[in-house]
Amino acid sequence: MVASHDVVLVGGGGAGLRAAIAIAEANPRLSVAVVSKVYPMRSHTVSAEGGAAGVIRADDSLDEHCYDTISGGDWLSDQDAVEAFVKEAPEELLRLEHWGCPWSREPDGRIGVRPFGGMKKMRTWYAADKTGFHMLHALFQTSLKYRAVARYDEWFVTKLLVDDGRVQGVVAIELRSGRIQPILAKATILCTGGCGRVFPFTTNATIKTGDGMALAYRAGAPLKDMEFMQYHPTGLPFTGILITEAARAEGGWLLNKDGYRYLQDYDLGKPTPKPVLRSMELGPRDRLSQVFVKEMEKGRTIDTPYGPVVNLDLRHLGERVINTKLPFVRELCLKYQNIDPIKEMIPVRPVVHYMMGGVHTDIHGATPLPGLYAAGEVACVSINGANRLGSNSLPELLVFGARAGRAAAEYASSQKEPGPAVVAQAEDERRRLVHDLLQRTDGRERIATVRDAMQKTMEESAGIYRSGPGLAKAADRLGELEEQARRIGLDDHSRTFNTELVTALELQFMVEVARTMVGSALKREESRGAHQRIDFPKRDDQRFLAHSLCRRAADGSCRIEYLPVTITRWPPGERVYGR
């Protein structure tokens, strides 16, 4: 069987659904398919808590949002992209309001905004502390209204079909039947989200395995800025469940084991009882996570069975603020940590959270590979530079999801139908999956073993602080692990909903992505944003005011090139917080 559409979207999260609606609205005659390995409303956008930034207040300006984003990204953001993003974000958030998203409100019925880390003004729209959940459900439910949108729920994409220099669809497994088949398209948009699962300790859901990055990379598209992985300063110790930055924005304090607001020792401002924007607890995530490590080295963190922690203190906010603005934080703490933030402090530690890098795209979401587009966390436009500001990702999904959708729709309208060559390719892929994995009986390696080894390697070498020798060692180790991942032996040889097969494929994707991260990190001999090299502790604009582009060589290793950063109006400067 062969399915065929005008545009195929891989991923039904915030970016994918926004793109689908954009296409349906741009040209209702186009047939759109949303292929997703989980039901769209299960996508990880559902977990986003804190909010989505967009300028609406009179005391705020687009330029200020641009500046916060660019300085937050340590000047690695492309400024034309940031300007477009900042301009369109409020419109997109408003559109979502018109689609029913239950934004939290001011008493007079206007949209409410809250402060957020690294932002100089209050501009983060929020739906209590379940912003992503409400956005995703509003998008999903709205998408149901468009007949042109076909859904392939619980289909897992394994490969992009490339012929004649352009991407012409995907190969996917229908999980419930086990059937492997091509879904052809004139344009393909990747919206597969991030890759936090390459690390052992992450806020990311189990589905965030970097599939889209690996798919694009294998198909020949470059990955950009893969060395920039964001640690969020406040995750719950055992589970890695995120305690949103909104907790600090509402006035929460970070305390070390002596009950001291230690951020004041690290040039992040002076402690004040009320939160001050771009200061102390409202500093950017990269800095806060780095400071945690420093604090740990000084022996001022608290030891627990799940590693060192500090305390996040919300008690002084009072029951009412916590219940109205942070109810989910309270629910999560009660459930998973057995503590009540109204009465107790929350133990937290930095946790892998967000991939700044991703598939290289232009400002319209187009990758260098014709017919291939990308949007959302999988893509790198780049607005996030070396460190994303909290609450910039959700609006990014909308702005660039819509842009990629419109661009793909236009491209698809001018293309001819995919040819028979890709159908033959799909058949090869099917054979590979069946023979090399599904029916293979001589496989030696267990998925969990390889995965644990990969995660350990990444944590040790590519964590908050990195070093040349550590990364080099990791690169070798990952090479071995890639070999092992290819020799996986499955227990399960059946067709119907074979989740073990999916996990094996995800592992192969993850190892691929991990190699690009380590490869890019090794080459960047400077410290910038989330990428901190102990052997090169300074930012080096001479050599590295540039995006890394990672291409896959024939032997599976990655080749790194650099692409200059687009600077429009904000020349590189010092990142100043709390002053």
Partner: protein, 138 residues
């Protein structure tokens, strides 16, 4: 139809469709409580029958009324009424407790808390009971 359809063939999976057992409501305490609540209907019907017999007896004179009271005091009827009473109370309590879920009352732009609505129901119950007591035994 034929067993052919129930057999697995590649890519044409067969889902297993469990059938709900007739005794599903015995498996969980809460479903049993539900069925008991629903069974209160039989006892309410019985009460109406009982009550109409009272009315009938009243209509036929003092002797018939006394006869009715004697009948009502016979052990079988007392036991039956005892069970009925338990069921009727169960009905009343569940009914009042669920009232807030079906009814949302606004007062001055604010939504009244559920406990208040249930409370109002119980208060009405007390009043109704007192009223009947007063009328009957005056």
């Amino acid at each position: 139809m034929s067993t052919e359809r129930n057999r697995y063939t590649e890519f044409r999976p067969r889902w297993y469709r469990p059938k709900m057992s007739t005794w599903w409501w015995l498996k969980r305490w809460s479903s049993l409580a539900f069925i008991l609540r629903e069974l209160s209907s039989i006892f309410i019907a019985w009460f109406i029958y009982f009550f109409l017999r009272l009315v009938h007896a009243l209509g036929r004179g003092d002797a018939a009324y006394r006869e009715f009271l004697a009948w009502a005091a016979s052990p079988g009827i007392v036991v039956l009424n005892g069970i009925t009473f338990a069921f009727v109370l169960f009905h009343a309590v569940t009914w009042f407790n669920l009232a807030p879920q079906a009814m949302v009352v606004h007062l001055g732009g604010k939504r009244l808390p559920g406990a208040l609505i249930a409370g109002a129901n119980y208060a009405a119950w007390v009043v109704a009971t007192a009223l009947v007591l007063w009328i009957v035994s005056r």
